[in-house]
Symmetry: C2
């Protein structure tokens, strides 16, 4: 009440302003898949002229939300890091479920949508029903604690070690973090452990990407391994 505005207000407004545009928001949501997109791809995705999108990218890069890499005549752009991904996810998680739903048009889109709901990547970890199933299985086996917060247990650390999934500890990023799933509206494992699990699942062939999309499918190998390691019933992942 000292009559003086909080000095962070300008910065906060500027940061929010970067997201407060439908075209830029669409870019950020698209980039949540963790991949690098070219400026042209994003322009087509957002439905605006290339020149318009170029200016948007300038702002997002200048604001520290995106990292860019120029290769020849292409401008590749991706989220600047896990912090930004978390931020966008958190904001999107605030949206009421009713909002942002749109009738699905056509069989192709319906099938793509259901594949996404089944399993997908969310920046660098697994989401969708697959992500939920893994998180629930870890919790049920006492490897992950959700009732008193969100953290791996000692047994959980041992499980990752036994599965041959190294966890980089001691960094600034939390080892385990809850990420609210968009389709399921339930928390799933993110953070260092979530990223490591996703990376290992793709490298070990437990999962594979469907086409060039975010959607992910569990392989036969994956079903066997996950059943053995976590007691996941094979049917739950289809």
């Amino acid at each position: 009440m000292s009559g003086i505005k909080d000095p962070r207000a300008a910065g906060l407004a500027a940061l929010a302003g970067l997201i407060a545009d439908e075209t830029r928001a669409a870019c950020l949501l698209a980039l949540l898949d963790g991949r690098a997109w070219t400026a042209g791809e994003l322009a087509r995705h957002a439905g605006v002229a290339a020149s318009t999108l170029s200016e948007h990218l300038d702002k997002l890069v200048a604001g520290g939300l995106l990292a860019q890499e120029r290769q020849g005549r292409h401008r590749y752009v991706r989220l600047a890091g896990a912090r930004v991904a978390t931020l966008v996810e958190d904001l999107a998680a605030q949206l009421p479920p009713a909002e942002g739903r749109r009738p699905v048009r056509g069989l192709r889109e319906a099938s793509a949508g259901s594949a996404m709901a089944r399993g997908r990547t969310c920046y660098d970890h697994l989401a969708g029903r697959l992500g939920i199933a893994l998180t629930d299985a870890l919790t049920a086996r006492g490897l992950l604690r959700q009732d008193t917060g969100f953290a791996l247990t000692e047994a959980g650390l041992g499980w990752f070690a036994a599965a041959g999934i190294p966890l980089a500890r001691g960094g600034r990023r939390p080892l385990a973090r809850a990420c609210l799933d968009w389709t399921e509206r339930r928390p799933h494992l993110a953070g260092v452990a979530g990223a490591a699990l996703c990376r290992h699942a793709l490298e070990a062939g437990w999962c594979e990407r469907i086409g060039s999309e975010r959607a992910v499918r569990v392989t036969d190998t994956g079903e066997r391994e996950l059943s053995a390691l976590l007691g996941l019933s094979p049917g739950a992942l289809r």
Copy 2:
């Protein structure tokens, strides 16, 4: 890459747009103290006309960020809930430390600032060096786990029960959550446990508010109790 924009983009942009104004951002930051402010107080705080602020409040209420209560000729307004508080904190935590610092003018402001740095409320939990000290003490005693995520341990649950601080479990809100401190830039305890601890500390007289501000001071009783319960050295809280 289907050429169709994510349907959440419009909602995300609208939500961010609510915060993407310096005046509204200043209001949200001010309301982070968890109290209810009148429209006039906020107008003076933000340095705009009452009519201008009235329209801002309409938008924030319509957007679900604020809850309002009309009493007589007053319009009281507060953050709509812990989710909103978390959202604003998370956004503010993204700001680079350099940004948003302003030279302190005068002794009065310097003393108020140092009181805030020593201890304050952050929506419904304790922050500042006091919040950090409590969180560190809980962690050092094995009551709180930060190395594998952020969660209370079994011993931690017992500590709260023994201290006579009830924890409402089973709700949607996480029991323990990390909140990044603005002045210290380190995580401290938030969530149900953080709120319960703060409430108990104020009710049991461990702490008291300084004037009508957010700043909080540890009392002599508090020093004794916290020393006995957590092994906190009295000097650390001054």
